[in-house]
C-alpha cells in the first residue's frame, strides 16, 4: 500500500537539503561581477563579494523562499484551495500600502528599525487583524468568507497604492515601484538575515506539527472533526502563524510572487500531498526556488533584475505546465 514511509521522508529531505547546499554554492558563484568563490581565498575583493554580499543574499533567499512556500502550503490546506498563495488574505495589499505611505511621507526610522519594512509589517498586521475580525464569527472562521474578505482587502489596498502613486512626487515613484517589484534588499547584514531566519524558524515550528491536521482537512472540516481534530483551533493557529510569517517576509523583501503558489504544487506533484513530508519539504524547496531565482536575477545579462520578475518568469510556465498535466486538482 502506497504511503509515506520514514525511508521516503528521509530520502526526500536529504535530497532537498543537498539541493539547498547546491544552490547556495551556485548562488555564491554567480553575480553581476565575475568573482568566483575559489578566488575568494586569495583575493580580498572577491572574498568580500562572495562572503559579505552574495552569501548573505543566498541565505536570505533561502529563508524568505522557504517561509513563503510553507505559508503557501498552509493556506492551501486550510482554505482547501489550490490557488491560494500566502498573499491571498490581504497581507500583500496591506504591506504594500504601509510601505507606500512610509515612502510617500518620508517616515524616519523607528527605534532603529528602518521605516519602510516596519511600516510594511504594520500594514500587514493591521490587514490581518481587519480581515479576521470581519470574516470570523466568534471563534469560528469560515475559509470561504476569509477568502472573499482577503480578496477585497487586497483590491482595496491596491487602489490605495495607486492613489498614493498619483499623488506622490514624481521623484518618489522610483523607490515605490522598486519596493513593489519585490527584491532582496541590497543592504543585507548578517543581523537582518539572522533575525528573519529566527522569525521564520518560529513560524515553521508552529506549522510543521500540524501536518496530520492538514491532511485531515483535505477530507472536509466536518470529516476532520469527526476524526478527532480540533478544526477551529487548527485553522486559527495555522492562519495566524502563516499570516504573521508572510507579513514578516513581505516586510523584508517586498511582495515576491509565485514562490508561495507554485512551490507547494511542484512538491506535491513530485512527492505526494502528505503534509508530514510536504511542510518540511516546502521550507527547503521554497528556499531552493527563490535562491535559484535570485542567482538568475543577479547574473542577468544587462544588469541585475528584481527577483520578483524572475520568480514570475520561472513560475508561470511551470504552473501552466502543471495545469496541463492535470496534477493540480481533481
Amino acid at each position: 500500500m502506497k504511503r509515506l514511509t520514514p525511508a521516503k521522508w528521509i530520502g526526500v529531505m536529504a535530497a532537498l537539503a543537498a539541493g539547498v547546499a547546491a544552490i547556495a554554492l551556485v548562488g555564491t558563484a554567480v553575480g553581476s561581477s565575475g568573482a568566483r568563490p575559489w578566488s575568494a581565498l586569495s583575493d580580498e575583493t572577491a572574498f568580500t563579494i562572495v562572503f559579505k554580499y552574495r552569501l548573505l543574499k543566498v541565505l536570505l533567499a533561502v529563508a524568505v523562499g522557504g517561509s513563503l512556500a510553507v505559508c503557501g502550503v498552509t493556506f492551501q490546506a486550510l482554505l482547501r484551495n489550490p490557488l491560494a498563495d500566502p498573499y491571498i488574505l490581504g497581507v500583500s495589499g496591506g504591506a504594500s500600502f504601509g510601505a507606500m505611505v512610509a515612502i510617500w511621507v518620508g517616515l524616519p526610522a523607528v527605534l532603529g528599525f528602518p521605516a519602510v519594512p516596519a511600516a510594511a509589517f504594520a500594514g500587514a498586521l493591521g490587514t490581518i487583524f481587519l480581515v479576521y475580525s470581519v470574516a470570523g464569527r466568534g471563534s469560528r472562521v469560515s475559509p470561504h468568507t476569509l477568502l472573499l474578505v482577503g480578496v477585497i482587502a487586497n483590491a482595496f489596498f491596491a487602489a490605495g497604492v495607486k492613489f498614493i502613486w498619483s499623488r506622490a512626487a514624481f521623484t518618489k515613484r522610483d523607490e515605490m515601484v522598486n519596493w513593489i517589484m519585490g527584491e532582496l534588499p541590497e543592504n543585507i547584514s548578517l543581523t537582518t538575515v539572522a533575525a528573519f531566519a529566527a522569525v521564520s524558524l518560529l513560524g515553521v515550528l508552529v506549522m510543521i506539527p500540524r501536518a496530520k491536521a492538514f491532511n485531515l482537512m483535505s477530507l472536509g472540516e466536518d470529516a476532520a472533526s469527526s476524526l478527532g481534530e480540533d478544526v477551529e483551533r487548527t485553522k486559527l493557529v495555522g492562519f495566524f502563524a502563516a499570516s504573521l510569517l508572510t507579513a514578516a517576509a513581505v516586510a523584508v523583501s517586498g511582495p515576491i510572487g509565485f514562490v508561495g503558489l507554485v512551490v507547494p504544487h511542484l512538491l506535491r506533484l513530485a512527492f505526494g500531498p502528505d503534509h508530514r513530508l510536504l511542510l518540511p519539504a516546502s521550507v527547503l524547496g521554497g528556499g531552493i526556488f527563490l535562491a535559484l531565482a535570485d542567482a538568475v536575477a543577479r547574473s542577468a545579462p544587462g544588469g541585475a533584475l528584481p527577483v520578483g520578475v524572475v520568480t514570475a518568469v520561472l513560475g508561470c510556465p511551470f504552473f501552466l505546465y502543471l495545469l496541463k498535466r492535470g496534477g493540480v486538482s481533481g
Binding site: S32, T48, A169, K172, E175, E186, N187, P280, V283
Partner: protein
C-alpha cells in the same frame, strides 16, 4: 535534516566575519579609482578634470561621450553593489536618494569610502561641485567650473532683467503631464532667464498638470523636456490645442538635452538655452558645441 542544514548554514555564516575596513584605502588627496553612481556626478567628475580616473558609471551616464565606454555598475537608482566592489574603487561618489541608500549603506559597511552630496537645487549643486573637487583633489578644476557657471548665470540674469516676461510652461513628462514649479531647477532657470512660470508655488518640484490647466494658464512659451536629449520634439502632442498662445504662435520647443532641468555641470548651458527659447530676440540659441 533541517537541523543539519541550519547548522551548516550557521557554520558558513560564522566564517564570514563582520565588516572589516581592509577594502578601503584611505581616500587620500588624489584617490586613483573613482566610481560614480549618479549621472550628474559623472558629469561633474569629467567637467572638473577627474574623468581619467573614473572606472565605473551607471547605465544612464551618457555624458560626456567618453563615459559611455566605461564599465556599467547598475541603474540610476539601483547601484550594483557587487559590480562596484569588483572594480576596487578608492572612492565612490554620487547624489543621495532613498532608492540608492541601501546600496550606499552596504558599500559603507563593507569598508568602502563613499561620498554623497545632495544636488537637487542650484545652490546644492554648487556646493556639491566644490565638495567633489575637494574629495578628488581637483579643487582647481572645480573652481573653474563654478566660475563658468556663475558667469553664465550672471550674464543671462543681467541681460534678461529689463525684458518683458512672457508666460512659460516647462513640462517634463506626458501622460500624466508634470510641470516644473518655481522651486524646481527649471523653475529657477525660467525666472533667471526672464520668463514667468505659469505654475504657482508648490511644495513639490514637479506638479501634475492637465491640458485644461494649460489652456487656462495660456503660456506664451512651452518648453517640453520629455524627449530627454532627443532633439526631435513631439509637436503633435500640443498641436491640437491651438487655443494656447504658445501653440498658436509656434513657440513650443523641445529642450535639447536633460541638462536643461537636471542639476549638473552643463546647467549654465541649460540656462542659456532656456533664455534663448524665452527671449530669442536677445539670446542667440544655437546648437552649442562642446564647451
Amino acid at each position: 535534516m533541517l537541523a543539519a542544514l541550519f547548522v551548516s548554514a550557521a557554520i558558513v555564516e560564522r566564517s564570514s566575519p563582520p565588516a572589516r575596513s581592509d577594502l578601503a584605502t584611505t581616500a587620500g588627496a588624489r584617490p586613483g579609482r573613482l566610481v560614480s553612481i549618479t549621472p550628474a556626478t559623472t558629469e561633474i567628475l569629467f567637467a572638473i578634470g577627474a574623468g581619467d580616473r573614473v572606472v565605473g558609471v551607471t547605465r544612464y551616464c551618457d555624458w560626456p561621450p567618453e563615459a559611455k565606454a566605461l564599465p556599467r555598475i547598475g541603474e540610476f537608482n539601483r547601484p550594483d553593489v557587487e559590480a562596484i566592489v569588483a572594480l576596487r574603487p578608492d572612492l565612490i561618489l554620487g547624489t543621495p536618494s532613498p532608492a540608492n541608500r541601501p546600496a550606499v549603506e552596504k558599500l559603507q559597511s563593507l569598508g568602502l569610502a563613499v561620498a554623497v552630496h545632495k544636488a537637487s537645487t542650484i545652490d546644492e549643486l554648487k556646493s556639491a561641485i566644490a565638495a567633489v573637487g575637494r574629495a578628488t583633489g581637483e579643487e582647481a578644476g572645480a573652481r573653474r567650473l563654478l566660475l563658468e557657471i556663475t558667469r553664465s548665470f550672471r550674464d543671462v540674469a543681467e541681460r534678461a532683467k529689463p525684458l518683458k516676461r512672457p508666460k512659460v510652461l516647462f513640462v517634463v513628462s506626458h501622460d500624466p503631464i508634470y510641470a516644473a514649479s518655481p522651486g524646481s531647477i527649471p523653475g529657477r532657470l525660467i525666472e533667471l532667464a526672464g520668463g514667468r512660470n505659469v505654475v504657482g508655488d508648490s511644495k513639490t518640484e514637479y506638479v501634475p498638470f492637465t491640458i485644461e490647466q494649460a489652456i487656462a494658464a495660456a503660456p506664451e512659451v512651452i518648453i517640453d523636456a520629455t524627449a530627454m536629449g532627443d532633439v526631435k520634439a513631439n509637436p503633435g502632442y500640443w498641436a491640437r490645442w491651438r487655443d494656447i498662445p504658445a501653440v498658436r504662435d509656434g513657440r513650443v520647443h523641445a529642450a535639447s538635452g536633460d541638462y536643461v532641468y537636471l542639476p549638473g555641470p552643463r546647467i549654465g548651458r541649460g540656462l542659456r538655452e532656456i533664455a534663448g527659447l524665452i527671449h530669442p530676440e536677445v539670446f542667440v540659441r544655437g546648437r552649442e558645441g562642446a564647451e
